[in-house]
Structures are given as structure tokens and as C-alpha cells.
């Protein structure tokens, strides 16, 4: 994991050097809307440490980053860390709401699909899930804005802060994930419903509803927890686009805006934070998996993932 984190930070930092041309020149030209003088470029390089060798630059950036200092934005002259902390809550709020939406949609649908296997209920839910996976979420977002905000006037079009602002983005982001989770709940439920302890429960005369929701679902949800955790990356991806659609101030909008104005410290900061969050979540998912299912030996699953 540590190798991965170091690699992640190295690649994150190296992005700046992907840009064709001299970063100092590009940044100054955009900042002052005209070609900078050589002296200005030199001064900027010295100030930002861009005249040092790559390794030295990277080492000092990483050293600072580990201590929570991600540098200062080129344009806003604010520390990147405080910008991230300012925008992060909005993204977290959206991510959690989207997970909630997706579980609320996916678990009942997936269970119904498995219980009524190969009936019209199953087929309809599979078609809906396929459509959900295949729709571009920015498009879904605009359709929701069009119907709910512009035609029905139920919710505000854009922004953040109130619950009303959160509903549409959460649905937009949650739908795509719900589709994935529905399929998984269905498969997992089908497997569990075949198990012998389910037959035992039935033969004891336990009511069918109780069999499905208590005996079967609890076990069927174990792999679902994993996927929900692993979908965290999917949520981060989706959040970028959904935030732009709804003009929510969040890490996504911050990232996209910064990419266009080449505000590298912010870009690096956002990418580093999302990637580290992603890696850490995956580790937590592994731990949660072990905690939920005592049959699994710690580290046993990690072998297949990292071998």
C-alpha cells in the first residue's frame, strides 16, 4: 500500500510537467493576460521553486504535503489545504446522499428481482438497471433540472446549501450506482436463497417475508458492502460531472476550474486527496469485509487482489 501511495503522489506531482511548454511562462501569461518578461518568468520560477531539479521539487512538495501543506493557489493566493477543506464538505454531503439514494433504490429492487426471478418484475428491473448504467449522468442531471426545476418548479436549479439543492444531484449520482448495486444484490440474493439454511428456516415455518429479509438478505449484503465501498471511486468520478451540471461548489468544480486556468497546486491537491481517499477506502472495505463475515481470514482476500 505504501508503494502505491508513493507512486500516486509521484504521478500526481508529475502532471505539471506533462503540459507542453514552460509552466512558469504559461501561468504568468494567463495571470496577467499577456506575455511576461524574462525577468518575471525567472522571478516566478525562483519563487515557486520551479528552477530546482525535479527530484528536489517533488521531495519538498511531498514533505510539505505529508504535513498538510499543499502549497498556495496561483490565482486565489490562498493555501490549497484551506480551499480543499472549504469545498470538501459539499462533495462528501453529495457522496453520502448519493450512496443513500442508490441503496434505497437498489436493495428493494434487487431483492424483488431475485425473489421473483424470471418474472416480469425481474425483467423490468434488469432493463431499468441496464438503462441506468448506460445513461450519461450529466444528461440525466439536465433532464431532472428540466422536469423538476424548470417545468414543475419543485427544486432550485443550481447551487448548494439546503436539502432542496441536494435532492437532484443526489438522485443523478445515485442512479448510476443504484444500477450496479441492483445487479449485485440480485446475484447475491439468488445465491443465498439457494442455501440450505434458507430451506431450514422455511421448513421451520418461518414466514417467507422474514426468511427473505432476515435470513437471506443479511448474508446477501456482505458482498454488497464491498461493492459500495469500491464504488467510492465511481462516486468521485461522477461527483466531478454532477457538480459541474448543478454548479455545486465542491472538489469537482474546483478541480475542473483549476484545470482550465492551470492552477497546478489546486489540481495536484485535489487529485492527491481523492486518490489517497480512494486507496484508504479500499483498505477499509477489506477490513469491513473481514469484520462482517467471520469466515474470512484477515488478509486472505488481499492475496487475490494484490498478488
Amino acid at each position: 500500500m505504501s508503494v502505491v501511495l508513493v507512486g500516486v503522489s509521484l504521478i500526481t506531482y508529475a502532471f505539471v510537467f506533462l503540459t507542453p511548454g514552460d509552466p512558469a511562462y504559461t501561468i504568468l501569461r494567463e495571470q496577467q493576460q499577456g506575455p511576461p518578461s524574462d525577468a518575471q518568468v525567472e522571478a516566478f520560477r525562483a519563487e515557486q521553486g520551479l528552477d530546482e531539479p525535479f527530484v528536489v521539487q517533488y521531495a519538498s512538495w511531498l514533505g510539505d504535503a505529508v504535513q498538510g501543506d499543499l502549497g498556495i493557489s496561483y490565482y486565489r493566493s490562498e493555501p490549497v489545504t484551506s480551499l480543499l477543506l472549504e469545498y470538501l464538505p459539499n462533495t462528501l454531503e453529495l457522496a453520502l446522499a448519493a450512496v443513500a439514494v442508490s441503496l434505497l433504490l437498489a436493495i428493494p429492487t434487487g431483492v424483488a428481482s431475485a425473489v421473483h426471478r424470471d418474472t416480469w418484475i425481474d425483467r423490468t428491473s434488469q432493463i431499468v438497471a441496464l438503462t441506468g448504467i448506460s445513461m450519461p449522468n450529466f444528461w440525466l442531471g439536465y433532464l431532472l433540472i428540466l422536469v423538476c426545476s424548470l417545468w414543475l418548479g419543485l427544486t432550485p436549479v443550481s447551487g448548494a446549501g439546503t436539502l432542496g439543492h441536494l435532492v437532484l444531484p443526489a438522485i443523478t449520482l445515485g442512479t448510476g450506482m443504484a444500477a450496479v448495486v441492483t445487479r449485485l444484490v440480485r446475484t447475491s440474493m439468488l445465491e443465498v436463497l439457494d442455501a440450505e439454511y434458507v430451506d431450514t428456516a422455511r421448513s421451520k415455518g418461518v414466514r417467507e417475508r422474514l426468511v427473505v429479509y432476515k435470513h437471506a438478505l443479511r448474508n446477501a449484503l456482505i458482498p454488497v458492502v464491498t461493492i459500495v465501498g469500491l464504488q467510492f471511486g465511481f462516486i468521485l468520478n461522477g461527483a466531478v460531472i454532477v457538480e459541474v451540471v448543478f454548479q455545486r461548489p465542491g472538489l469537482g468544480t474546483l478541480l475542473v476550474d483549476s484545470i482550465f486556468i492551470r492552477d497546478y497546486p489546486i489540481v495536484q491537491g485535489v487529485v492527491l486527496v481523492t486518490a489517497v481517499a480512494f486507496v484508504v477506502t479500499n483498505q477499509l472495505v477489506d477490513l469491513a469485509y473481514v469484520a462482517l463475515d467471520p469466515r474470512i481470514e484477515p488478509g486472505g482476500r488481499g492475496v487475490s487482489a494484490n498478488e
Partner: protein
């Protein structure tokens, strides 16, 4: 038969040999499973239709996708413009058809690079083992540690917005999954008796890779690539929507949605048409991929011995 006739009939016999192989494949176990699979039929139909539109469509559209006609801007669907016109008076249907070509070409290009890169790295890791294996797989871990679109976004942003850079960004992001699957399957095949005996025979490594390992990793790669085509269409549209892919006035579906968002209330067809086109394409690839997975039985790909023993 004289040499003369044999020489002349060679090209035809090659074609008929290929046809014969296709026919035999159609009757084989896998081929039958594929023909009987509804998802493959429907998905394959959609993909073929789109392919046809992408290849032939641009020659048949009556308008120029970039021709502006400000006097007929933001018109609703009519006979002259079946899907209406956009804010610059361009015909939406024409732009949609031209967009199909860009979207499909981009998806195929990015997926092809992913497949070649991932398969090469996966095979290299499996065959080399040791330090090379560890290093390559760590590299794959690192790639997978980034949320895909975020990484693609930053790469495309750093390289500058263009369709070509979207292909680069989406290839850099997607290869690791292939590398892992190919490596896992190659390692499993490597220990099977027929490969072991080939090695004992002194067969060169390159030949073992080409004749024994590669054919046995084709199925999972094909399934993954088909599903990937859908993902790439979505991601590329997303990047273009954000302004990092195809640039206006190029008729690209994501760009078209971005261009239509300011006229959401006045001209809802501007975002509806490209959105439906994207969803339709991705549904096609997903159906085809799911169907192939079932028909090729990819879950059990590394015990494909059932036919031989």
C-alpha cells in the same frame, strides 16, 4: 489438378477456408451459445446499426454539420429538420450522425490501445515473473488507485483539449484491468500440462506465448473490451461535455449537450437527442458484452480443458 489451376484458385480457396471456419465456428458449442443469446443479438444489432450510421451516415445527411444558419436557429423538430436546429441554426440530426463517427472511432481507438498495452504488460508479467512481475503489477495498482475519470481529466487538461488527447488520457487510465486479467489467466494456463510439455520440448518462449498463452486469454479480453467500449463512450462524452475533449464546432455528442444546456427550457431537444444517442450506444455495447460473457463462459476461462480431455 494442374499447378496452373491450383495457383489461380488460391485466393478463392483462402476466402472459402475463412468462410468454412466461420461456418464451423457457428456450429460449435460457443458459436451456438452466441447465436442463441438474445443479448448478443440485440446488442450486436445496435452496434452494427451504429457502425453503419457512422460509416455511411455522414455521406447521406443533407446538411453540413458546421453550417450556421442564424435565421433558422433553435427551431423545433420539423420535416426539414427532424430533430430541430441548435443555437447557431445547425441541423441537430446531421450533427448527431457525424457525432456517431467521432464517438465510435474514439471508443475503438482508446479501447484498442488499452487492450494492446494491457495484454502486453499482463503477458510480460506472467512470463517474466520475479522482479519484473512485481514492478509491473505495482504499476497497475498505482493506476487503479486513481479514480479513472479524475485522472483522465487531469491528463487531458494538462495535454490540452483535443480528441487525440482524450484517446491518450483514456488509454493511460484503462490498461491496468486488462493487465491483471491477462496475467491471472496466463499464469493459470502456464501451469497446465500442454504448456509444461511444450516447454520441456524446448519450444521458444515467444512461441509459447503466441501459440499457447495468448489464445487462452482472448475470451476475457474480448468481453472486457466490449463492456469497455461503452464505458469509454460515456467517459469521452463526459470529458467533451466538460470542455476537455472535442472542441466546438466539432459535432460530438458530449459537446452538443454542453452547447444545449443554456437553452434547456427553450429547446429541450438539443440535449435530448445526443443524450439518447449516447445511452443507446452504451446499451448496445453493454448488452453485447454481457451476452459475450455468458456465451464465452468467461468466469471459468482458465479451466477451458473440458473440450480437450
Amino acid at each position: 489438378m494442374s499447378e496452373h489451376t491450383a495457383g489461380r484458385s488460391q485466393p478463392t480457396s483462402r476466402v472459402s477456408a475463412v468462410l468454412e471456419r466461420v461456418r464451423r465456428f457457428g456450429r460449435s458449442r460457443v458459436g451456438t451459445a452466441m447465436r442463441m443469446n438474445g443479448q448478443i443479438r440485440l446488442g450486436g444489432g445496435i452496434v452494427c446499426l451504429l457502425g453503419l450510421v457512422a460509416v455511411v451516415g455522414p455521406f447521406l445527411t443533407p446538411y453540413d454539420p458546421a453550417a450556421q444558419a442564424l435565421e433558422t436557429r433553435l427551431q423545433g423538430p420539423s420535416l426539414a429538420h427532424p430533430l430541430g436546429t441548435d443555437s447557431l441554426g445547425r441541423d441537430v440530426a446531421t450533427r448527431l450522425v457525424h457525432g456517431a463517427r467521432i464517438s465510435l472511432a474514439l471508443a475503438v481507438a482508446a479501447t484498442a490501445v488499452r487492450v494492446v498495452l494491457g495484454t502486453t504488460i499482463g503477458l510480460l508479467a506472467a512470463v517474466s515473473g520475479g522482479l519484473v512481475d512485481t514492478a509491473l503489477m505495482r504499476l497497475a495498482d498505482i493506476q487503479l488507485a486513481f479514480p479513472g475519470l479524475v485522472l483522465a481529466l487531469v491528463i487531458a487538461g494538462a495535454l490540452g483539449p483535443s480528441i487525440q488527447n482524450v484517446v491518450i488520457a483514456l488509454s493511460v487510465v484503462g490498461w491496468a484491468t486488462y493487465a491483471r486479467i491477462v496475467r491471472a489467466n496466463a499464469l493459470a494456463v502456464k501451469e497446465r500440462p500442454f504448456v509444461q510439455s511444450a516447454r520441456l520440448y524446448g519450444t521458444p518462449k515467444r512461441r509459447i506465448v503466441r501459440r499457447h498463452l495468448l489464445p487462452n486469454v482472448v475470451n476475457p479480453v474480448v468481453v472486457l473490451a466490449t463492456l469497455n467500449l461503452g464505458t469509454v463512450v460515456l467517459a469521452a462524452a463526459g470529458l467533451s461535455f466538460l470542455g476537455l475533449g472535442a472542441q466546438p464546432p466539432t459535432a460530438e455528442w458530449g459537446t452538443m449537450i454542453a452547447g444545449g444546456r443554456d437553452y434547456l427550457r427553450a429547446a429541450p431537444w438539443l440535449i435530448t437527442a445526443p443524450g439518447v444517442a449516447i445511452a443507446f450506444t452504451v446499451i448496445g455495447f453493454n448488452l453485447l458484452g454481457d451476452g459475450l460473457r455468458d456465451a464465452l463462459d468467461t468466469d471459468h476461462i482458465d479451466d477451458g480443458k473440458r473440450r480437450r480431455t
